[in-house]
Amino acid sequence: MNVVATAHTLLAPEAEWSHDGAFHIIEQLSKPIHRNLEPVGPHYLAHARRKRHHRTFSEDDRIVAAQQAKNVEDADSGEISEPEDPLLLSRDPKDWKNQDHYAVLGLSKYRWKATDEQIKKAHRKKVLKHHPDKKAAAGGIDDDNFFKCIQKAMEILTDPIKRRQYDSVDEFADVEPPSRKAKGNIYKLWNPVFDSEGRFSKKKPVPRFGDDKSTKPNVEEFYNFWYNFDSWRTFEYLDEDVPDDNENRDQKRHVERKNKAARAKRKTEDTARLRKIVDDALAMDVRLQKFRKEERLQKDAKKIAREAEEKRLAEEAKKKAEEDAKRKEEEEAAAKASKADAKKAKEAAKNAAKKNKRVLRKGAEDANYFHPDGAAPPDVINNVLADVELLITKLDNEELDVVAKKLAGLKVADDVKGVLVDSIHSTIGKGSAKESDYKILLQ
């Protein structure tokens, strides 16, 4: 078995393998096409040997198999057939300039649209039918006039330059533009005209006239294209024959000049003609009015929308102002309230402080100013009260509150003194007073 060693690398799985087993079917192969193998060469003969092993093939098999196979040879296409006009058949080949080359080959309905392939096929058909040798052999008259017409048509239609020159003046391919007053479906009226004129365009593709569904850019592009039409149309075909004998040089030059002038004139006329066609189409083009109307509607709609928007904005602004005012009021009220609260609290604190101070003083008084027996002498009372007052000044309201709470309920004089002394120590510790400031409590 023949194994090809490739230099390629296989894939790593992109995601977790989520199938049972190691093989996963997604689709079947595409359907095959039946074709005829050429029964030639050693490899085919090996194939045939395998295939017909132990088999014989009947005539039926042959027919069935042959019908299955795709045919690669074209069946003679009868598409190019037109009845031959007797007038055409009796044409004088010398008058080839006025000959309808497409009609001669039976391609009247294709004209400039005929492909090279069609021209070739059409020509062959005509040759088979009209070759003079055949007519002579069949005992007919030895008349090769129409055959000459066929050859001339072929010569012109297979030469790209000559074909263009002929197509340029092929009036059978022209589509008459409708008059400006024409009634009816403008798309049916104009599309064929522009499709036909489009054959002369150097630029491809040529935009079509379109229909009522064409967008504004399409239509604009269309007119833009046609007002700037770049045409290859030329008028050499209508030239007057130039005498080609050398004797008459002046005459020759004269005819050449005349031809040149005539071509230029025709070209100018053609440009003007096309311009008029485009003008006419433009004048009749209801889509333009439609677009204008649509635009106006759009503009109106925009205006309405703008006004609505403005109104909405104004309303919004008003609402906002109202809300702002309300909020401000509320805030002010709240501020006032909180101010009152603060005042109350302050007062309460003040009262509490007063009360606490009283507790401290009362504590000293209740403990008989820490005098052991009998009524305390006035200097002791003064000193104790002075110390307590000093302590009070050194304590802030909270500390005062703490001390007052500790004192509450204490009956024993030493306990009361202890609390006061602790508190004095802590104020000294904080450095807000000195030991020496106190007169008696620390002794």
């Binding site: 194994v3 390629h8 192969l29 595409s30 039946h34 074709r35 005829n36 060469g41 040997r49 014989t56």
Partner: protein, 572 residues
Amino acid sequence: MSDTDEPQQKTVIGIAFGNSNSSIAFTGPDGKAEVIANEEGDRQIPSVLSYVGDEEYHGAQAKSHLVRNPRDTIAFFRDYLGKSFAAVDPTNAHSSAHPIQHDTGVAFSVQEKTDADPATLSVSEVTTRHIKRLSDSAADFLGKSIDGCVITVPTDFSESQRKLLAEASKGCGLTVLQIIHEPVAALLAYAAREETSHPADKTILVVDVGGTRTDAAVIAARGGMYTLLATQHDYELGGRQFDEVLVDHFSKEFMKKHKTDPRENERSLAKLRLECENTKKTLSLSNSSQISIDSLAGGLDFHSSVNRLRYDLLSKKLVDQVVGLVESVVKKAEMDLMDINEVILAGGTSHTPKLALRIQQLFPATTAVQSPATTTTSLNPAELCARGAAIQASLIAEFDAEDIEQSTHPAVTVTPHLTKSLGVVITSPAGDDGKADDKVYVFLESETAVPARRTATFTGTNVGGDVLVRIVEAKKESVDVTPAKEAKEKVNGADDDEDDDDDDDEDDEDEKVIKRVTEVERVIAEALLKDVKKGAKVEVMLNVAGDLTLTVTARVVGGQGGVRGTVPGPAL
């Protein structure tokens, strides 16, 4: 074993039966085909018979009688075989015996014997006589009687034409083993040179530019078997038209000097034509050629010369037509010119250098164009059909009639072909985003006849771990790989050889570089190989059965086990 046990070898030949020329070939004991020269030393034997006095002339001698004895000289008759009078184009026979209506077909009326009425020779009869002369020449050369032959015909030969040809051959006692298509024979002539039992899959274009017509065929060669994908013919384009441009050229020159048009006199025209054909052939080899005709017209001699440049210009339109035919047949095959791997130029006119070069320009540099002007190893394009026929003849020499009948039976030849290429997805290297790289390695190209099987090995992955074998139908897509703007100027250099300007223009316009790459079209199935070592080789086999059942086998080379799976064929 004694020598007498050897079966008596049959002597068989190949015949290329052309409208203008025929040739004969045989395959020697070394298996190489060789073209045989007739008694006059011609390998290209004009398919012409001429009756002069009581003599029958054949080949080159008969052809020379076109000047003095045109009405009794029969030429260009092959394509008339089996056709009705209404369906034949008498143009080519205008300067020789004219075809006439006869029974249901065509005949020629010639003065076969001096003292009898003109004889009416049907095309079949003429064909019989022509083949007899060819067969005699071959027998003469080989020193043995001929037991059978293979004959080539154009692809548009109908079944009834083939039948008549076989009968005509039988008429002179030569058995036709098989009638084969000219482009396929040409292909076989080249294929026989490749010494491999596994010929590469290729799509081949055969362009046969003969004397009176040009035929083009696109052929799929898959595993050494051939399938015609499309054919196209131009019956009004061939070597005769190339002769004609020289005839016109020299006639004008003659007229300028002598004020007489040699084309107006039948005999002068015939003389000029024959000489122009020789001039044309000389121009295929050298840069200029002389022409010299005694008493061309009005008793005046004509001597002139023409160079190749001039000739190329004169024949440009004809070459354009060949190019057009090539483009149209490839289009008809629904392919891109870039998908053609090889071009074989056949037929005498393919010697023309300009023609071959213009065709070469149509294709990328990777496409080999087989012709004397483009490859040094090419075979003689005029001999391809005879060689191919001789090779085929040697292959079936020992077959009996029943064998051949069955081997060429449509029940065997008509085969399902894949419509899509089948392969596995590969990782493409990162360079330029991998845009210009194949995404799929193709095992079986589209248009492969089934059953068919291919095997290939790959690197598992570069990191190790699990490997995914994703089997897909692939399509080809064009990718623009034009290198970034560079100084592309100055390629043509100074125009010192003032070669045909138009061609240079075409080159300049076409500066895009397009590459065809394979892309995934449809995923058919996936197979998973577990834990493959880094860098290990994986072998994949795809086997498509006659009913389009696909069997996939994947295994690590040198490893254990593997994965095998089957995708049932599509409902037909």
